[in-house]
């Protein structure tokens, strides 16, 4: 520690604040901010990949696959997102344990669902009972990332399938006239031209993803909301060297400012990107959105 924080009750105000803000629990709080950023950094590319996959499914020539792709995109966006989050985390956990149960304990005869219990054999437990607290936390966080990726992947799929349809028909016809086969047309024309039409939607999705990150709290992750509540709550001298009243208001004010900065910053970057990518194309992303 850079500051001498051995006896906080004798420090003056500035030093007290510095010591308070750099104590162990606050460091965990700063780590949880990092968790949000990691979630954003991982969930965004995975969702884009999944979205592309779903859009390709929805555009497939084989009708059951096409229907499946359209169905997934449709139901995911018709239902409150929080319901999805809460559903997915348990469902994924149980799904994984079920798969492991079947593969690891083939001679287990009792049913898995017994009344209000979900019982799998000892070996199939995820993570296993013996593993450390950290492993449990990491497992929870990975489940959360998968949940976010699936939900936002479906949103992205919706955007991509719209963008694929927005590619001007003339360009496809030109490609056909040049004798390109459907596969070549997709990869060389549609796929490449689609991005600019998808950009406004993707920008919007990124903003939404940022604003969805506090929902990590609902998935049982010790995220910034959790720590803001923990640290802000009134503390008596019995339990801490830094007693204070109920400061949760200020902690959440900090979170509001944090998110406002993050969205404002993203907006600036995305605006610049849109302007750069649509340069000379005769339309901007905004125009496209209004036309749609």
């Amino acid at each position: 520690m850079i500051f001498d924080c051995s006896s906080p009750d004798q420090l003056d105000r500035l030093m007290w604040s510095l010591c308070y803000l750099s104590n162990g629990k606050h460091i965990t709080f700063y780590y949880s901010i990092l968790k949000v950023l990691v979630l954003l950094a991982l969930a965004a590319p995975i969702s884009i990949g999944l979205g592309l996959f779903l859009a390709m499914l929805a555009k497939s020539d084989i009708s059951p696959i096409k229907l499946l792709g359209k169905f997934i995109i449709l139901i995911v966006r018709g239902i409150p997102d929080i319901a999805w989050f809460m559903f997915f985390v348990i469902a994924l956990d149980q799904g994984l344990e079920w798969v492991r149960h079947i593969t690891l304990c083939p001679d287990w005869t009792e049913p898995i669902r017994q009344g209000a219990d979900f019982l799998v054999c000892e070996k199939a437990k995820l993570p296993s009972n013996s593993s450390s607290e950290t492993i449990h936390e990491i497992y929870g966080f990975i489940l959360a990332i998968i949940t976010f990726s699936i939900i936002f992947g479906a949103f992205a799929g919706n955007i991509f399938s719209g963008a694929l349809e927005a590619v001007p028909k003339d360009q496809i016809e030109t490609a056909e006239a040049y004798g390109l086969n459907p596969r070549q047309i997709f990869w060389r024309i549609s796929f490449k031209q689609m991005w600019i039409y998808a950009l406004p939607g993707l920008s919007n999705l990124w903003m939404i993803l940022i604003k969805a990150t506090p929902l990590l709290f609902l998935l049982g992750i010790e995220d910034i909301v959790y720590w803001a509540r923990e640290l802000g709550g009134a503390k008596t001298p019995r339990f801490t060297e830094y007693p204070h009243g109920d400061w949760r208001l200020w902690y959440f004010l900090f979170l509001l400012i944090f998110y406002l900065t993050l969205t404002k910053l993203s907006e600036k970057v995305l605006d610049k990107l849109t302007r750069k990518l649509t340069y000379g194309m005769g339309f901007s992303g905004e125009n496209f959105l209004q036309r749609q």
């Binding site: 348990i90 506090p214 208001l249 969205t263 209004q290």
Partner: protein, 270 residues
């Protein structure tokens, strides 16, 4: 079977507002229990959604006009309001508002009802939908063809006449599809209320609150959450049908080829 289910509906149909059986089912939970209680919880979602949308509609119009205003301070204030409520997660807004009302309550006991969900959360939802709708309305206001305003001016209309008979109607027509999206997602956003700081008194919660209760009790998410989904899809269809009626009345002056049927573009969540 049907009889017992009717009994369950009698016992729990209005449980979410505190009427009927006090104790929630703990054992022998049937699908009927789940559907009834979750349906009962929908009352809260509808309450929050409808009130916030009705109040928000008018406030949003004021905000969008304020944002367009030539008066710099007014337009700056409206802009900031919209930015704050659109730029931060609704979830954090709930937490912040709850703790704000809690501190206010200590100083002024008048604020006591604000710390309960029925008022405190409603205010946040109202502000939130106002900011999102104001943004939509502002976009529509700016998109009104210049010629129509000029025509109104040359008829010698006063500002109020011009707003009432030209701008307001055109704005509503242009903004309608986007506004209906907003309305649908407002209803979805109401599910956040009881998962944020606002306390649930005597287990009177919304649809998702009960779904979560059942998922915890039965350890089986595959029944309660799909029930929530079905209720919300029904609600969404209802909103869309209502919106269609309004849409055709808003664009009744247009030739058939110009007035397109309402096509929805979803903007997911906030």
């Amino acid at each position: 079977m049907i009889l017992t289910c009717l009994e369950i509906i009698q016992d729990y149909g209005l449980r979410s507002i505190g009427l009927g059986e006090r104790v929630l089912p703990k054992t022998d939970i049937t699908i009927c229990h789940q559907a009834t209680l979750i349906g009962s919880g929908m009352l809260w979602n509808i309450y929050f959604g409808v009130l916030a949308l009705i109040l928000g509609f008018f406030f949003a119009i004021l905000l969008s006009l304020g944002r367009r205003s030539d008066h710099q301070i007014v337009s700056y204030l409206c802009d900031t309001f919209i930015l704050i409520f659109r730029g931060t997660p609704l979830f954090i807004q709930f937490f912040f508002a709850y703790f704000l009302f809690l501190s206010l309550k200590k100083a002024f006991p008048v604020f006591d009802p604000f710390t309960s969900a029925w008022l405190g959360a409603l205010i946040i939802l109202f502000f939130n939908t106002s900011a999102y709708s104001a943004n939509i309305f502002y976009g529509a206001l700016v998109a009104i063809p210049r010629g129509e305003i000029d025509a109104a001016d040359s008829f010698g209309m006063s500002n109020w006449q011009k707003f009432r008979s030209i701008e307001f109607r055109q704005m509503l027509r242009l903004a309608w599809p986007a506004y209906i999206n907003e309305a649908i997602f407002m209803f979805h956003a109401t599910t956040l209320v009881f998962f944020s700081a606002f306390p649930t008194r005597q287990q009177k919660g919304d649809a998702l609150y009960y779904a979560n209760y059942f998922a915890d009790k039965t350890f089986n998410p595959f029944i309660p959450y799909p029930i929530v989904a079905i209720y919300f899809i029904i609600l969404t269809i209802f909103v869309v049908l209502l919106a269609r009626v309004f849409n055709s009345s808003l664009s009744r002056h247009l030739p058939k080829s110009v007035s397109r049927p309402l096509r929805l573009r979803f903007n997911f969540l906030r």
